[in-house]
Amino acid sequence: MVTESDTESIQVEIVPSRFLMPASAQKLLNEIYGNGGLIRIMIHGPNLPRSVPYGPGRGAPIDENRDLLIEVGGQAFELCVKVGRIRLELENAKYFDGLKAACERALPISFQIRRGKFFHTRQTITDYAKFGKVEDTRILGLIDPRAKKDRLAILSEEKVTIDDEER
């Protein structure tokens, strides 16, 4: 039997049974943030474009997808996706139960939570093409390989940056 180390970081995926509204996403993210022990976190879901990307209505604005501001841990940022999945890394396993309880408190719907390996550890060719040699490996796995470099969202203790262009 392999004894689990309680000093190594663990990776967790949370999948709600439905896509979250911005208010629910904000509540959930704040609960996760309040639980502590967070090394990095990624929110994942279908893109919410600011204008109709193709078809006869191309270019028509989608006001519903604009200004979806949420505030997490005192920092405001704009949602670019419909939140459907959250992947995160915790400092160690002792934060896991608290995280589960946080999800139960915040989510009005059923959800799945599981431990596994969700972020890659070695640079891919796409990472290299976008960033050159990555010094801070925490960024690996947080990047949508199809997104443009200036659409990346990087959250840290110091600042929250999001650059989103009109699409």
């Binding site: 896509f19 989608i62 997808n65």
Partner: protein, 255 residues
């Protein structure tokens, strides 16, 4: 005795619903005004003239053809309307209809239409005033649940995604929205251009009602082959196996 089509085999609720869709013997659940359906389709402004590709048939003088004499043209064909489309997206989470069953409904019950079936969407093309009538029939009947089905000319991918928190099918372009009064409103036409007013589509079905009216076999609803551990082969499965066998063996003649 006159022949009575059977349409689809099986005694499950899904089989019964599939028969209803194919036969066109559908319950009417709502009545959306024609002008609103026209606005959501987005091909012409409600009340505007129909654009045409040829003069009315009466003015054209048709050739002497026995088929033309036997088959009465549809209203749109008689007037020379342009061919237009309406395209539907039905969620995989127990939407009442699916692309195949919309197509069966169209091909069997709608004259002069061209249904196209794709994995996530279903399009019907017909002369403009005909397609407006067919679209209204789909909107008003139990083929459509306003939360789980929507008319989408493009960006249809919500059909295979999880539902939103409020039970609506995900739509990247936000063409429909759930109002505070519990009704679903269409705010854009089928290609995402905002409408000049919100169109009230009425209340969505409850989850239980959607499961009752669905034409989708699902393991967490009505499974085609019964529950795991208690398999029960419905007549639909037997018919499917029969068709599969005939298609597999088609043309294979060992001498």
């Amino acid at each position: 005795m006159a022949y009575k089509p059977q349409f689809y085999p099986g005694s499950t609720s899904v089989g019964i619903n599939r028969r209803k869709h194919m036969s066109g013997n559908l319950e009417k659940l709502r009545d959306i005004p024609e002008a609103d359906v026209t606005a959501i389709m987005g091909h012409r402004a409600p009340g505007a003239d129909y654009s045409s590709t040829h003069p009315p048939l009466k003015e054209m003088g048709e050739p002497d053809c026995p088929v033309r004499q036997m088959v009465a043209p549809t209203a749109g064909a008689a007037a020379g309307d342009r061919v237009r489309y309406s395209q539907w997206t039905d969620s995989m989470y127990f939407a009442p209809s699916t692309p195949y069953w919309r197509s069966y409904w169209g091909a069997i019950n709608c004259k002069g239409c061209d249904p196209g079936t794709l994995s996530g969407r279903q399009i019907i093309e017909a002369r403009e005033r005909d397609i407006e009538a067919y679209t209204k029939a789909q909107y008003d009947s139990e083929m459509t649940d306003v939360a789980l089905c929507s008319m989408r000319g493009c960006t249809v991918h919500g059909h295979s995604l999880r539902l939103e928190e409020n039970g609506m099918q995900f739509d990247m372009l936000s063409r429909t929205e759930m109002g505070a009064d519990g009704n679903v409103y269409a705010v854009k036409d089928q290609v995402g251009i905002p409408l000049d007013r919100k169109v009230n589509l009425g209340k969505p079905m409850t989850e239980a009602e959607a499961k009752k009216r669905t034409t989708i076999f699902r393991a967490d609803g009505i499974a085609m082959c019964g529950e795991v551990g208690a398999r029960k082969y419905d007549e639909a499965v037997e018919a499917l196996h029969h068709m599969w066998e005939l298609r597999s063996k088609w043309g294979f003649r060992p001498e």
